[in-house]
């Protein structure tokens, strides 16, 4: 039984080749400039062991929160198509979430899809119409209980 509640999915098109984009995630000098960065923070530690089972640490100094340390482990490294790693911020929460990076060649460059699993449910709209629609989507699960003959 999964306790996963939902995911965040973001896509981006790059003019660069899949290999270049893929390598950016495992090259510490490039990764430190974007991977666990925030707009106002300064990356003070970036360490990567780029192998399956290897770990990484990114510590960013943030004006509002002090030093925030991200740690994780590489689960899959399939250059240049797919990279999967866990990460967490132990000082805030012992749990980790999983990030999957998938890269497809497209035109002259490539398209990257990043999926962060284990984050709160994607209730895209905050208004009443939005959540009603979302919860209506849960209804089949309830109906399924009937359909399965458990009544």
């Amino acid at each position: 039984m999964t306790t996963q509640t939902s995911r965040v999915v973001v896509t981006h098109h790059y003019a660069a080749s899949p290999e270049r984009v893929f390598d950016a995630f495992l090259d510490v000098q490039i990764a430190r400039r974007f991977l666990f960065a925030t707009p106002t923070g300064e990356m003070i530690v970036a360490e990567i062991e780029p192998r399956v089972g290897g770990r990484f640490t990114f510590t960013e100094r943030r004006p509002d929160m002090g030093d925030v340390r991200h740690v994780g482990e590489y689960l899959e490294i399939d250059r240049p198509r797919r990279l999967v790693f866990t990460f967490g911020v132990p000082q805030f929460d012992p749990r980790t979430t999983t990030v999957t990076v998938e890269i497809q060649p497209k035109g002259e460059g490539c398209e990257l899809t990043l999926t962060n699993d284990g984050v709160p449910p994607d209730y895209a709209k905050r208004n009443q119409e939005g959540w009603t629609r979302i919860l209506a989507g849960l209804q089949p699960a309830y109906d399924g209980v009937h359909a399965a003959g458990w009544l």
Partner: protein
């Protein structure tokens, strides 16, 4: 970090398919506890435990009508989750944009 504690309660409440199904049912309108419990192949006691977790997260509110307990959906906590999730998405989108900048700068 009271905000995170509230988010945690919301997440825990939503992390179970039975509880999500209960919310799905309540999205259609107020219902009696016994009616909510009927379709599930688990005891009324188990369903009551699920409902208590939903109440703790303030996703479900209970009122009495005579001897009946009526449950209603309260969507407010979902708004806080929506805000949090949107922030996460915006952050990842920003990071992927930063990577684009780095790659563009370094292009030979």
């Amino acid at each position: 970090m009271g905000e995170y504690r509230t988010l945690d309660h919301t997440l825990i409440a939503l992390a179970d398919p039975t509880r999500r199904a209960i919310l799905g049912r309540l999205a259609a309108g107020e219902a009696r506890v016994t009616d909510i419990a009927a379709p599930f192949p688990i005891s009324l006691n188990s369903v009551s435990k699920h409902i208590r977790l939903l109440e703790r997260a303030d996703l479900v509110r209970r009122r009495k009508r005579g001897r009946e307990h009526l449950l209603a959906l309260n969507p407010e906590p979902l708004g806080a989750l929506a805000k949090w999730t949107q922030e996460q998405r915006a952050l990842w989108a920003w990071r992927l944009g930063e990577l684009d900048k780095v790659l563009t700068e370094e292009r030979p």
